[in-house]
């Protein structure tokens, strides 16, 4: 009878049944997989004999059973806020031994919505966390964790999928084993997908559809980064999920995602040596990956999207930001100071606060503004989000762009700047100190090959921001192409141009020809270029544009107007001479020049 609850008894819990005539084993089990899983649970012979011994020894090592949950037993923690990291059998492990009675343990997987090969897979994988494994049922996992007073969470960000457990400090072995099991032995059955996971995904889709501010943020990410980071955090309601998502595709994605190089185990409130020992015992089932999960490097595009919505209004102005601290080189602390300076929400009661947006929004009651800096492993997005009535948003956003311009001109007071630096520093430190944010950012940093989140260094780098740096950062933002996403009453909500934001970036597409290439004149009349054999690329581009123009001119008037509008080309080229790149020229202008030249010389 007690045998089947061995797992719990190891942790000092004795489970008896009310009705002693009832047999806890499932007698009529004929499905071999289930029977086997129960047998292994009972005897615990198949998986981890060593683990079992180690577990027992740990429990025996405790001085007295009464003291198990006493304060004295757990006062091993230090007060350091920096993470120690190590590599245990190919898995990255980081921990911070903060004094306290509880531990948060998380497996951070590089499988956020950015890395999903098909839409919705991350959400599906998140839904399958803590479901039936080959060793125990989902019900058993839930009930056992409840008995130990633990909490199990699964959530995802754009870059990471996080499986987290929070529990009493002495239960570390149990929860490390659980997380190891979830990662390597989940069954991914079809009926669980249909009965539990799919329904939740549909609900999350509906929630997203109803939430204007999330919709606007997702849309801003989509415009700013297109694919990769631009993938919505949850699939939008019109995503054809049934085409891409089922238990098999999720299982396949799990095999790719839960691999040694792709996960990091991060703990808060656990001894590094203990954690490493447990991870080396319980994460043995994790495979090493054949093909590492990857996503193309993020590139900022920018643009504008407007979505009509009946319930609420939201406007997001976004600019390229800085990657996260853990990414290393591309971290720009001045962006977070800029975010603090723009602000929006007051951090002090009964006053709008010093932040520029709060001041701007205070004259438009009904609008609220917040500035958030989303930082990722290789890019970032500084967003200013307005919510409230459409009319108020319109007024407040115009003011906000004005204040951003005033920062770029350097006309902010020294006092405001000092306050902003202090607030940005406080926020960075607080984020590092809080368990959840620290866990995720450290884990993400480790999995992406960076460094763990080191709180002291972040504080220092934020403090080192000067007013000059801030000014140039703001200037760069305004000069680049902004991202504008409006959701709600589109009749009132402003366009980016109405706010005075740049719509067009410098042309992005550069085509450089071969080093020895030279230009050749093109005869308009014959739509044929005198092709020099070494000059294929330039001439081909010219040839295309000439051909396109002739076709356009031969169209009827109404069609022609539309086509001419489409035909504005930003294509640029450069001439290479003796291995040196010449000046960039617009292809259209170069064509016009060569046409003029050709018109001057006699036709051949």
């Amino acid at each position: 009878m007690r045998v089947s609850f061995k797992l719990l008894e190891d942790f000092g819990i004795n489970v008896n049944r009310l009705n002693t005539t009832q047999r806890p084993q499932l007698r009529r089990h004929r499905d071999p997989s289930i029977t086997n899983s129960f047998q292994t649970m009972i005897s615990r012979s198949a998986v981890g004999r060593n683990a079992q011994l180690a577990l027992r020894r740990q429990c025996c090592a405790k001085p007295a059973p009464l003291n198990r949950r006493g304060l004295a037993a757990v006062s091993t923690g230090s007060t350091s806020f920096s993470y120690e990291s190590a590599d245990v059998g190919g898995i990255k492990v980081a921990s911070r031994d903060v004094a306290g009675l509880t531990t948060s343990l998380a497996v951070v997987v590089k499988a956020g919505s950015r890395y999903q090969p098909l839409p919705g897979l991350t959400v599906g994988l998140e839904g399958f966390a803590f479901k039936n494994t080959h060793r125990r049922s989902a019900l058993r996992i839930t009930r056992e964790s409840e008995l130990l007073g633990g909490q199990l969470l699964a959530y995802h960000t754009r870059e990471s999928l996080v499986l987290e457990a929070k529990f009493l400090r002495e239960d570390l072995p149990y929860f490390t084993e659980l997380l190891g099991e979830v990662v390597s032995q989940t069954k991914y059955t079809d009926y669980e997908y249909h009965e539990e996971v799919e329904h939740n995904i549909k609900l999350s889709q509906q929630r997203l559809l109803a939430d204007v501010s999330d919709l606007a943020l997702n849309s801003a990410h989509g415009i700013a980064f297109h694919r990769g980071l631009g993938t919505p955090l949850y699939p939008t309601s019109s995503t054809p999920l049934s085409k891409y998502l089922n238990d098999e595709t999720i299982h396949q994605f799990a095999n790719e995602a839960y691999t040694k190089s792709n996960i990091a185990v991060v703990a808060n409130g656990a001894n590094q040596a203990d954690l490493s020992k447990n991870v080396s015992e319980f994460f043995t089932g994790v495979k090493s990956s054949a093909i590492p999960i990857s996503s193309p490097a993020s590139k900022y595009y920018g643009g504008e999207e407007r979505i009509a919505h009946g319930s609420g209004n939201s406007l997001v102005l976004a600019f390229p930001g800085s990657s996260s601290f853990t990414a290393g080189g591309s971290y720009k602390p001045e962006i977070s100071v800029l975010a603090a300076l723009l602000g929006g929400k007051s951090s002090i009661k009964w006053t709008p606060g010093f932040s520029l947006l709060a001041k701007a929004a205070s004259s438009f009651p009904g609008a609220s503004a917040t500035t958030t800096h989303f930082s990722y492993s290789d890019a970032g997005l500084l967003t200013i989000q307005f919510t409230g009535s459409a009319q108020a948003i319109r007024g407040a956003s115009i003011e906000a762009v004005k204040s951003l311009k005033s920062i770029a001109e350097g006309s902010i007071s020294k006092e405001d700047f000092t306050k902003a630096v202090a607030l940005a520093r406080y926020r960075a430190l607080e984020e590092g100190q809080s368990t959840d944010a620290g866990l995720v950012s450290t884990g993400a940093g480790l999995v992406h090959g960076g460094k763990p989140f080191q709180i002291d260094e972040v504080g220092k780098s934020v403090q080192g921001v000067t007013a000059e740096k801030l000014k140039s950062a703001a200037k760069a933002l305004l000069e680049g192409k902004a991202t504008v996403s409006a959701v709600g009453d589109l009749y009132v909500l402003p366009y980016g141009e109405e706010l005075g934001l740049k719509r067009r970036n410098n042309p992005k597409l550069y085509i450089s020809s071969q080093p020895t290439a030279t230009h050749n004149g093109i005869r308009m009349e014959s739509i044929r270029s005198h092709t020099d054999k070494t000059c294929k690329l330039n001439s081909y581009n010219k040839y295309l544009s000439v051909a396109a123009r002739v076709v356009r001119r031969s169209l009827k008037d109404d069609k022609r107007l539309a086509a001419e509008r489409r035909g504005e080309s930003e294509l640029r080229m450069a001439k290479w001479n003796n291995g040196k790149q010449g000046e960039h020229q617009n292809v259209a202008e170069a064509n016009a020049a060569s046409m003029a030249e050709a018109a001057g010389s006699p036709a051949s």
Partner: protein, 123 residues
């Protein structure tokens, strides 16, 4: 769904199984459902939560085939006819496709009951 059964006890003893098997085969054939093109698992009453859930978990193809067999059997029954010999269920086709799932569902329910009845004592 399941009635008390000696099957497991018999299968455990190979000599006994060897003796009983021909009788069992004769009995299943004589029961007559195979002559209507049914399988033994088609005869399980649907009117219980566990069986309903198990039916939902059937793979799509199995579920479709099941409905087809049932309708064909109704038709035969109404017409007071048996299926032609080649369409009748062959013994090797008469495998349990539903009962393993029902057992799985029952096991889950049982486990839930067990946990609900568990009493926790802190050591």
């Amino acid at each position: 769904m399941s009635a008390p059964s000696l099957a497991n006890a018999i299968i455990k003893r190979p000599w006994l199984a060897k003796m009983v098997k021909p009788i069992a085969a004769w009995y299943a054939d004589a029961a007559g459902y195979r002559k209507l093109g049914l399988r033994a698992d088609d005869l399980i009453p649907e009117e219980s939560e566990n069986v309903l859930l198990a039916l939902k978990r059937l793979p799509q193809k199995e579920a479709y085939d099941r409905v087809f067999r049932l309708r064909r059997a109704f038709q035969c029954s109404l017409a007071h006819q048996l299926l032609p010999k080649e369409q009748q269920t062959k013994p090797e086709e008469d495998y349990p496709y539903l009962s393993p799932i029902i057992q799985q569902v029952e096991a889950e329910a049982k486990e839930r009951d067990d946990w609900d009845a568990a009493v926790v004592q802190r050591k």
